[in-house]
């Protein structure tokens, strides 16, 4: 296949993100915290504004024009997401409040129906708390056991250990696609195939993957896949759960109420078909539509182009950071995306983060909601630089200067 590498016009892209022209502490903002939440392009902001200016009505309820129009837009947004993830059916796309909410939905409903004492659920050592705690709670409630895939020094899953953990006791394997702390891209297709060989169900947490790479859920063949809109340049408060039709049909409703039913009487309620069965109450309408706008925006630039550009930035930043004395990179997997975590000997991440902030540079410091991982590396936390396609090499140069200054001040 011949691939035309389209170069990304970063100046043009930066002009699409109004917030990037603001100042912080008297310095131009340098935003390296897109892994926590990404900034929003004007098209997403306009979509939200236009919704309130022109389109506001409740969906799925009215006969009137506004309601019908917005219902159409909301369902078109669902179709955009279906196409983007290459899901087989549109009703396999469930709107949720975000990745955390999606995982809780599956843990609660799958747990209720399929988990009993003696069963096993597998997560990995690099999971975000959002992909640990719902399973831990489920295990405590049912008497199932939570097993953890360990990682090697580079921050890659030990696949041999994973294989040896698999047995017919394992009912669920829940693993992140990309680690929010290490940047490791996990071999999710292989993980899914291995889990399916023992009839275990597979959930992939795609929160950090979707913004940076093309995801094809049919190719991965996982049973569930989830992400949050706000990390892919969309609004906060909305996210997606993809589930294979047969699995979603087997699960009981999660939260119930208006919108989830075909008919209600005090004796018997018949629940609606997918996906409405899982969408109780008035949803985040403008959020769903805003997410579709974000996805369309990203696709117009092209995820391959974005991935190539971000990869180049990451290599550059990794090289420059490695030149700093006493700096230890945390997470050096061969296959990485968008995130660089590090620790500077003798300096607390909080101190470094504070001094970088004074210089207008936003990074994340701390445990990144992955405390078990910090315990594994025996550090209190890391400084995390997460990159997006609106970042530049010039910003990385400024980061290196600012970091050197911080280290000098702290010594």
């Amino acid at each position: 296949m011949t691939q035309h590498k389209i170069k990304l016009d970063v100046t043009k892209i930066r002009s699409d993100f109004p917030i990037l022209s603001r100042e912080v502490n008297g310095q131009p903002l340098i935003y390296f915290d897109s892994g926590a939440t990404a900034q929003k392009p004007r098209i997403v902001i306009d979509t939200l504004t236009n919704y309130y200016l022109h389109d506001n009505a409740n969906i799925h309820r009215g006969v009137h024009k506004l309601s019908q129009d917005i219902t159409t837009k909301y369902e078109e947004a669902r179709a955009t997401i279906q196409k983007h993830l290459n899901a087989q059916h549109i009703h396999e796309i469930v709107f949720t409040c975000g990745a955390t909410d999606s995982i809780n939905l599956v843990a609660a409903t799958f747990g209720k129906k399929f988990i009993k004492a003696g069963d096993e659920i597998i997560v990995s050592e690099m999971e975000h708390h959002s992909n640990i705690l719902p399973w831990q709670m489920l295990c405590e409630e049912t008497g199932a056991t939570l097993k953890v895939i360990p990682i090697n020094d580079a921050g890659e899953l030990k696949m041999d250990e994973f294989k040896s953990m698999l047995s017919n006791k394992v009912k669920m394997v829940a693993v992140t696609h990309v680690s929010n702390t290490l940047g490791t891209i996990n071999p999710v297709k292989e993980i899914t195939a291995l889990a399916h060989a023992v009839d275990a169900c597979v959930l992939i947490d795609g929160a950090q993957a979707v913004p940076h790479m093309k995801v094809d859920v049919q190719n991965i063949a996982c049973d569930f896949y989830c992400f949050s809109a706000h990390k892919i340049y969309g609004p906060t408060g909305v996210g997606v759960l993809y589930g294979k039709e047969n699995w979603l049909n087997k699960l009981p409703p999660y939260r119930t109420g208006g919108g989830t039913i075909k008919s209600v009487s005090f004796n018997k309620t018949i629940y609606a078909d997918l996906p409405l069965k899982f969408e109780a109450g008035t949803p985040h309408i403008e959020g769903g539509i805003g997410l579709a706008a974000a996805i369309n925006y990203v696709n117009k630039i092209g995820l391959d182009t974005i991935a190539a550009y971000e990869h180049e930035l990451m290599e550059y930043a990794t090289e420059k950071l490695s030149e700093i004395n006493g700096l230890r990179l945390i997470g050096t997997a061969k296959n990485k995306a968008s995130v660089i975590s590090f620790f500077v000997d003798g300096a607390h991440p909080f101190d470094i983060g504070t001094i970088l902030d004074k210089q207008g540079i936003a990074v994340r410091t701390g445990h990144h909601c992955t405390q078990p991982l910090m315990t594994c590396y025996k550090i209190p936390g890391t400084i995390r630089v997460s990159l997006a396609f609106y970042n530049t090499k010039e910003e990385i140069k400024k980061l290196i200067d600012a970091l050197n200054k911080a280290i000098k001040m702290l010594n």
């Binding site: 502490n25 300096a347 607390h348 991440p349 909080f350 101190d351 504070t354 001094i355 004074k358 410091t365 701390g366 445990h367 209190p380 936390g381 001040m409 702290l410």
Partner: protein, 142 residues
Amino acid sequence: MEIEKIEQEIIDEFELFGKDWESKYEHLIELGKSLPIIDPIYKTDDKLIRGCQSRVWLYSEIVNGKINFSADSDAIITKGLVALVIRVLANHTPDEIINAKLNFINAIGLKEHLSPTRANGLVNMIKQMKMDALALKSKISS
């Protein structure tokens, strides 16, 4: 010296830095380095005040009706902030400590560190100092 007088002293000291964040933080870092470190026997988990990111240990004792504090933190800027608060509150009676407003933190332009989301443990430490003062007060009056 009265608490408010010490606060004023610190405000005057910090005035020198004006808007220059760099020398202000360099000063904080120096203060952090000079903080009398807590006796290791008190650096235990029950003396640990959990902030989200940096950890602070605090030991309080009462001598002749006045409270002494010693503290430590794993982050040096936090330690500098802690040193300032201790300089203001130490050697005062429980009531003086409980009633202290600590307006100086705002006045020297470090208010951002008082935000509960800042997670450097400073807010929690001030709370703990006041709670310790209250506890030590009831101990001497009982």
